[in-house]
Structures are given as structure tokens and as C-alpha cells.
Symmetry: C2
Subunit: 461 residues, 2 copies
């Protein structure tokens, strides 16, 4: 149990600073200007300061704060941390986030052990040290010390990220913000002196706002962790999809992992096997992890692996089939009887096999005809829809037909490639209505594959 | 020889139209408003028309045009095409682009044979029919009948695309425009009644503005084509890189190719072997093809496969190494003596192995130190530089140091992930100075791999 760590109502910031750009300043600014809860800045150097158009009261120490505090954020020099943590314990604070570095990662294992001992004695759960902490888009509880002009903040949404790397987490946050990707929660656990990825996974599993848990991991550090991960993931996975990307696979990569997080990268095959057993869907890059997560957050798992491909570009349809087949998914032919029916309703030169190629002369209605005639049938489990909006006959109304097809209860992924305003508007409309859109056929195919895999996980566990 | 087909000085448009949105209208608008050459609209229905703020004179027929015409663009109903082509031949026009559809692709092989016969008799070279034709960003010779709000026009630049699919070509054009990717030329050959991809390849090989030729192909159609492709590519490849993506690999995909372009998709292995023999670099998707082309257009081929990885994020460094190793490239350790030197100049907790991790506390200068000390040495053939700009110490000046490193004559690829303005500005600065930037480590790794492969091709052929 990590009480209120990802979702506190009140926060104290020890090491809050008025020096622009400093870690204690950025965190204070995040919380004072945006957090929907109480903030108690702690720094003996200040009394009351005018900042961001408001008067901010500073406390000399944690014990001076009389109100209850859910989480204390510590951003002071490493040697001062154990004492501050002790104060937090005495005050009855249950969770702490130690941003400060200079512990085990800097050869100072003794100081980290001291932190662990204090945490244990007072029953304070500790995230970090040497971490960027938590971002919660729902309440703007945000300990990320990178200002928003460097690292954008994504909007609330169904995805949660647990990252072993702080810089990777910050880069993902910035990237998600730009793409309006609903990354509602982010947690980075740094040296993992106490709170582990497994406990964060359990916390996100218990939060109804989270629909998919993503995990960026370089390697476990301590004996028994693999087993605990397996046990926890097996329980969570049938209810909530977990997608993981294990970085550090080859020999040189494992050397790098060792020097980066002192984690035991171990043989990559061990992780691969572990993920399979645990029902965790494995991605092979950060981007792929979010491609999959976006689909898992919005689409039901399919009953089987048979994909209907609808396209207005023969070439794109072929690329989609290439990608689907390479992943072991099926692209079965359209049954003769339905094909004859389609032949009558589509353009004379449309291809009514699978992929169904409505051709570059298609209108929005042609997509509707194909989807309504094929998606509900027993012959297809999901649909990959290619909409090259560059052709003249398509309009933004096509989005409506695609969104309407959700009523058939089968997963859908759309490929939309280009850059013009029409393309972007169309894409936003679809994504706002829970249809995942990808720029290339291989990415959409991989997302459908993840849904298929998750269906298997649900059946198996 | 396809005289002036990709670069005419004067163009006649038969089927030029004043009906907004029609094929003949969009082509006329492209040419009248942007083409840096003479335009002769042909349509017996009009005399003089006021359009786009200018008076446009129409000709009743091709023979009425007294000036010489390099290329005639035909956008009239299919049955009228042979006669128009004959007129073009009588006038001495050497090249025609037939946009019109309704030929072999619509079951009308006889009409297409007639076109071929006329072309042969009069010595007119024909692109198409059933194609979108040519886009030349240098002169804005542009027969693409999709208006710019649907399909953006990319800026002049060193890449040329030959595409068997019109819709795929249009989508690529739109995508390239958005990304400011220098796609200087695009050619789509439709039914390939006369001019083939091989001749287009030779035309781009002969044009000094083209640095890299990209080819989107679904399959050859006629006997002997594979051999001609091989012979031509083997001659071109050592001088100018050719990157190809063959769509239609699996069984269902080949079924789709057959119905799309009536091409013989054949066993994918045949194409794979052909590309290898011909020295053509093979991509596995459209996006990958341009990732590679961008690097090939700006970077020299490396002497070997040893990559220096510099990063401010251990996690990203690990991902880069994963990707490089998976592609068979090496990430050798930094020699002991240089490592000791670096250790003194970088931060205490920087990793001085390979990847060199300057850490999230790095400054621009740390990158400079690493690049200057390692890239010129005999131990490394190229560099993959990860710059997560979300960390606090980096500024846009880092771009200068990266660009300066070009003086070592070794290929460089940069990974820059995120979305904030700083990230984008930094990226533009690098790309404007000929450093290819990628959003993820696997894409940068694949680009370096393409450079490595091209080095092999040059040595072999």
C-alpha cells in the first residue's frame, strides 16, 4: 500500500525555492499554480513571498505545518534528507517523494540505507530517491522539475506510465502533450529504495481512471522482484491491460543498463518469458507501447484474429496486409455471396476481396456500405480502415461512419497518412470518439495485434 | 530516353477545365498559378476565361498551339485519348502524360493497346495512362489533380519518388509537405503502357538535383522487367543511392496486389534477392524508406559498422544500442585511455563507456567534449546522438556543436523526442544544416544501417 502517493489532497514541498529555474522552484510553481489541493512550501529561508501573482506563505519546517499532509516532496541536498524524512514520520505523513539525488546512484549507498531505515521505522513509504516523481493530470499533482516549455504536460486520459528512467519519462510526457495523448498518470521511481514498480502497478490497477498501464523497464535490481512482478501482473492483467517495454536487450545494451540504473538487465529472454507468463503485452519500443496502449484503452479485445481491411488506396491496403500477415493475423477473403452484393453497390472497379479497395474515386458512403455489410458478420473479428483523405471524394463526414461502426462491438484501427488540415481534423474527430488512428499501416496492425493478444490473455488467466 | 518528361519548359493541358474541383481544373490551376514555364490550355469549349486573377487564353486543339510544347498533359475521357495523342505526335511533341483512366485497369486493354500503337508510330513517350503524373518542386511542374488543401506540396530537395500507386504517392507528398521533407520530384506511372519505373529511375539518375531515388513498387508486370531493373539499378546505385519498398509480401497481400495493379507480385523473395544483387537498399515501410533516404541524401557512407552513441538519457541510450545491435551494427567500448580522459572532463556520474551517457545534468559543452574526443578517432565510424532536450542544462546552442561535428566526415544521426517548441526549433536547425533527426532510437539506427549498407554497395559494385 502506498497511501495517496499518486493522488494526494495535500502536499508539503521541503526545499521549495524562489530561485527561478531551480528544482524547488519549478515544483513549487507546478503545485501552487495548478494543483487542485493544499500546498505547504517548506524552507527556513523565507516567510512570505509574492510569486506568480499571489502571496505564498513558507513554513520553517515540516513540524510547523499544523494541517495534515498526505505527501511530502523532498528536494533538498542529499545529506539533509534522512532528518527531513524523520520529521515527516513524526508528523504522521504516510508518503514521501525524494527528488534529491546523491544516493546509491552516486556511490553513496550508506546514505540510501539510512533513508530506508528511517522510512521503515516511521512507516513512511518513499518514492525515489533520485527520481522525477509523479504527474497526475487529473489534479495536477506534479513533481516534475522540468518547466512546461521543455516538457509539456499531457491532458487527463486513460493511460498510466511507470518508468524506470526519469529522462525517458519526461520525454514521453512532452511527446504525449504534443499529440494530445491522454497520459493521465506518470510515475518514475528512481533508485527504488522503497516503493517499487510493482506497487505502482497495483496503485494504478486500483484507480478506475486508469484503463491501461504502461511500463518502461530496464531491469530488476533485487532478488525476488521478478517473482513479485509476475504475481502482481497475473492478477491485474485479466482486468486491466499491462503493456511493457523492456529496454536493454543485446550485449552492449546490457552493459549500458548496468551503468545506468545498476539494474540486473539479465538475459532478455528471461524478461520476455516473464511477460508472457504474466499476461503482459510486450512492445519493442516506447512508441509502439503507446500505439498499443491507445488501442487497448478504447477498443474491446477481438474474439479471433481475422481482420477486415478497407482502403481507398490499393497500395496502402497491400501494406496493411503485409504487416498483419507478418504478425500472424489473418486477412481472409470475403465470402462469395457478400462479395457479389458489394460488387453491385460499390464502384465498378472496386476490389471486393479482402482488402476491400473502394478505390481513389470512393465517397464516404462506400466505406459505410463495406463496414455495414462485413464488420457485423461472423467472418471478421476486427477492422483496419485505411482512409487516405488526399483523394477527392472523401469528406470529414467519413469520421461519422467509422465512429458509428463501433456499434458492432469489434475493434477498429484507422490509418490516416498525410499532413493537410483536413487530415488532421478528421484524425482528431476519430480520436475524440475513441477510434485510434495511426499514420502507417504497420503501426495500426501492431495495435490490432495487441488487442488480439489481450483477448488471449483474458481467456487464459 | 524520356525527353523533358520530368522537367519541361512548356506544357499543353488537353482537357483543361474551368469547373472547380475537376481534374482538368486542378491541373490547370497548378500550372497557371505556379509553374515556371509556358502553359497552353486546350479545350474547344472556351476562348478566353478570367480565372485566378488573370485572363487565360484557351486553344481549340493542340494543333492551334503554334509554339513548341515539351509535354502534353491529357485529362480527357479515355476514348478521346488516342486521337489527341496522334495530334501531339503530328505536332512533334515528344512526351505525354495521360491522366485519364478507363484503360487496361478497367478491362479496356484494347484502348490501351491503341494508345501504345499511336505512341510508337509517332515516337511520343507516354507516362500512364491512369496516373497522377509528375510533381517537380523546382519548377512547380505539377500534374497532381488533388488540390493543395488535400495534398500538400513538399519543398524542393534532394529526394525523388517513383511510385507504382497514385494514392500512396499523393499521401507521401502530403506527409512530406507537412514535415518539410525535401521531396523534389515525384512520378507515378499508372498502367505503365510505355514509360517504366526503370526509365524514370534513369531520368532521376541523370538529374543532379536528385541525390537519392526512392521507389515504391508493388510488382513488375511484364516479362524481362526484373532483368532491366537489375541492369539499370546496378549502374546507378554506386553513384546515387536507390531505396526501395516492395509492398505485397505475404499471401493475402499478393492477392491484393494482383487485384490492385495487375502486377505479378511473385514471391517476395525474388524481389528481395533482386534488390540485393542490384545494390538497392530495401526498406520495410514507406516511412522507413524516407528515414533512410533523408540520411543517404546528407551523410557520407561510413567506412565500417562501429557506432558511437552519445546520450543525456541512459534509457534512450540503451534503446539505441538495442536497435543498433539488432541490425548487426557494433557499439564497441570506448578505449580505456580515452575513457580516463573523458572521466576528467564530464560530470562525476557520467558513463564513459559506449553509450557515453553525459546524464540529465549535462550541458551543451559535454556533448562537444565527447564528440571531439571520440568521433575523429579510428575506433568509431559513425555517431548516433540522443538529445533529450527536456533536461534543464541543454540549449539550442547544442545544435551548433552537432553541426560542427560534420567536419570529421563521419555520418551522424540525431534522436530528438518530444514536442515542445525548443525541441522543434532544435530539430529544424539541425535538419537545415544537413543533420537527419529522428523521433525514436530505432528509426535513427535504421538510417545509420542504410548508410552502412550503402557503403557496402559502393565497395561492391
Amino acid at each position: 500500500m502506498i497511501p495517496k502517493l499518486i493522488d494526494p489532497q495535500s502536499v508539503a514541498v521541503v526545499g521549495a525555492s524562489t530561485k527561478p529555474g531551480s528544482v524547488g522552484y519549478v515544483i513549487l510553481e507546478n503545485l501552487v499554480t495548478r494543483f487542485k489541493g493544499e500546498v505547504y512550501p517548506v524552507n527556513p529561508k523565507y516567510d512570505e513571498v509574492e510569486l506568480w501573482g499571489r502571496r505564498i506563505k513558507f513554513y520553517k519546517s515540516l513540524s510547523e505545518v499544523k494541517d495534515p499532509v498526505d505527501v511530502v516532496v523532498i528536494a533538498t541536498p542529499a545529506p539533509t534528507v534522512p532528518k527531513i524524512l524523520e520529521e515527516a514520520g513524526l508528523k504522521g505523513v504516510k508518503s514521501a517523494i525524494i527528488i534529491s539525488s546523491g544516493f546509491a546512484e552516486a556511490g553513496n549507498a550508506e546514505l540510501e540505507n539510512w533513508v530506508k531505515a528511517v522510512a521503515k521505522q516511521y512507516g513512511v513509504r518513499v518514492l525515489g530517491p533520485n527520481c522525477i516523481g509523479i504527474y497526475n493530470a487529473y489534479t495536477n499533482f506534479d513533481t516534475i522539475f522540468l518547466p512546461a516549455d521543455r516538457a509539456g504536460r499531457p491532458p487527463p486520459g486513460p493511460l498510466a506510465l511507470i518508468s524506470q528512467s526519469g529522462a525517458v519519462a519526461a520525454a514521453i510526457m512532452d511527446w504525449a502533450a504534443r499529440r494530445r495523448l491522454g497520459l493521465g498518470f506518470l510515475a518514475n521511481y528512481g533508485n527504488k529504495a522503497d516503493v517499487t514498480e510493482v506497487e505502482l502497478m497495483e496503485a494504478f490497477a486500483a484507480d478506475d481512471r486508469v484503463k491501461v498501464i504502461t511500463v518502461y523497464i530496464e531491469g530488476f535490481k533485487y532478488p525476488g522482484e521478478a517473482k513479485r512482478f509476475l504475481d502482481a501482473a497475473r492478477k491485474i492483467a485479466p482486468k486491466k491491460p499491462i503493456v511493457a517495454y523492456k529496454a536493454g536487450r543485446g550485449k552492449a545494451a546490457q552493459r549500458a543498463v548496468k551503468s545506468h540504473t545498476a539494474a540486473m538487465a539479465g538475459a532478455y529472454e528471461m524478461y520476455h518469458g516473464l511477460f508472457q507468463q504474466a499476461g503482459v503485452i510486450e512492445a519493442s519500443s516506447v512508441r509502439e507501447m503507446f500505439d498499443m496502449a491507445k488501442a487497448l484503452a478504447t477498443q474491446p479485445p477481438p474474439r479471433g484474429g481475422r481482420v477486415l481491411v478497407v482502403t481507398d488506396s490499393g497500395g496502402m491496403g497491400i501494406q496493411a496486409v503485409d504487416a498483419l500477415e507478418a504478425l500472424g493475423l489473418e486477412v481472409p477473403e470475403v465470402p462469395e455471396s457478400i462479395a457479389r452484393e458489394l460488387k453491385r453497390e460499390l464502384l465498378p472497379f472496386a476490389a471486393v476481396s479482402n482488402p476491400v479497395d473502394v478505390t481513389g474515386s470512393a465517397t464516404d458512403e462506400h466505406y459505410k456500405i463495406v463496414l455495414d455489410n462485413l464488420l457485423p458478420t461472423v467472418f471478421f473479428d476486427m477492422a483496419l480502415i485505411v482512409t487516405l483523405m488526399q483523394v477527392p471524394g472523401l469528406t470529414k463526414n467519413l469520421a461519422k461512419y467509422v465512429i458509428d461502426s463501433k456499434r458492432y462491438g469489434k475493434p477498429i484501427a484507422v490509418v490516416n497518412f498525410g499532413g493537410s488540415e483536413l487530415v488532421q481534423k478528421f484524425e482528431e474527430e476519430l480520436e475524440d470518439h475513441g477510434i485510434p488512428v495511426y499514420p502507417t499501416p504497420d503501426r495500426a496492425a501492431k495495435a490490432l495485434w495487441a488487442l488480439y493478444k489481450y483477448g488471449e490473455v483474458k481467456r487464459r488467466l
